[in-house]
Amino acid sequence: MEQSRKKFLRNFFIGATSVPLILEACKKESTTSSGSGSGSGSGTCTVAPTETEGPYPTHSPSSYVRSDIRDGRTGVNLAMNITIKNTNNNCAALSGVIVDVWHCDKDGNYSEYGTGFTSLHFLRGRQTADANGLVSFTTIFPGWYTGRATHIHVHIYNAAGTSLKITQISFPEGTGSAVQTVNSTEGQAYGYTKGMSGYTYATGDNVFSDDTALVEQAVVTGSLAAGFVLTHTINVAG
């Protein structure tokens, strides 16, 4: 009897001393959560989670890290092979660098936050250059939008993520070129409906017009049915 009374008092005592601590914790939490709080908790005296733990998070690379960057976007297939070379090493292949590429879809639109909420990063990808300095992507032939020639954006970083070069790749244009074929009547079957009316050619493009040596221009081969292959080399000071 005495034992249980002691136990009761002890429990009561613990309870009594705990109350101010809890109140204090609430107070503290509610002041810190007013704007700069950690947010890792919900910020009030809510019931602590009491359920089976998990799932346990695991390291997950950026969703850019993939070679097929189509994300369901339709268009003419394009295989991109970009080789990175090092001007600081007699233009030898530069392995280990991180290469980001991104471009617009067949209608000339980039992935971005729109009216929807969940992120869709279509036609954006990241690869690390192999021993030959090569990165490869599976994508679709880019469309075009007013004021710009057909192009692919490229951002090259060293392995630590420091920017080495921001550039763009241009496409051969004119009779028989892939750009013209894709934007022709035949290309309409693949969803490229703009034609070439109002197209800005590289010579009039504010990025490519000074590239008279065609350093930024890729080699593009292939066909609508078989898809096209883009081959290009970018020299950076690695």
Partner: protein, 170 residues
């Protein structure tokens, strides 16, 4: 009981340098690394130290919210549609989401401590039957039909949890 309403709750989960949970740490570290990489596109000469200065000088840098979000997509997927942190009055994770929006609150490529991001989780639509004290009495809107005996949950009103959309039931 008041007329029931269909609501979507938003939980704005803020993650900063003092984050302790494993998931929070991953989101913090990955989003900072991605921010450092992507911010260089908008500021190749590294003229602006903070995200706020960068956005002020280069408005296109607003796109960094979207661009950096790719770093956390994988971690969002690992949540299996369960809104983290928020529990019902029985201490169970109870809210489900399909939609979210990542945002950068503050950052500085040269000062990781200032990096602060938020993930806004938007719950699936629910029926809001009533509010009892500080508790929202909610049901999954999937069950809605005449004469339903509702399965309900009670979720405490709390900071960073807000009603995002509301629709009167007719």
């Amino acid at each position: 009981m008041q007329t029931s309403k269909k609501i979507v709750l938003c939980y704005r989960k803020i993650i900063a340098a003092d984050a302790e949970k494993t998931w929070d740490r991953y989101v913090f570290e990955s989003s900072f690394a991605e921010y450092r990489m992507q911010a260089q596109y908008y500021d190749p000469e590294e003229k602006y130290s903070s995200f706020s200065a960068l956005v002020q000088q280069v408005p296109a840098a607003e796109k960094l919210h979207f661009l950096v979000s790719a770093a956390v997509t994988g971690y969002i997927g690992q949540l299996n549609n369960k809104v983290p942190d928020i529990t019902d009055n029985l201490g169970r994770t109870c809210l489900l989401f399909d939609n979210y929006r990542f945002e950068i609150i503050n950052s500085d490529s040269n000062n990781k401590k200032t990096h602060q991001v938020a993930v806004n989780f938007f719950t699936r639509p629910m029926i809001w039957h009533d509010t009892i004290g500080q508790l929202l009495l909610l049901s999954s809107s999937q069950e809605e039909k005449e004469g339903t005996e509702w399965d309900t949950i009670m979720v405490p009103v709390q900071p960073f949890l807000s009603i995002h959309t509301l629709k009167e039931n007719t």
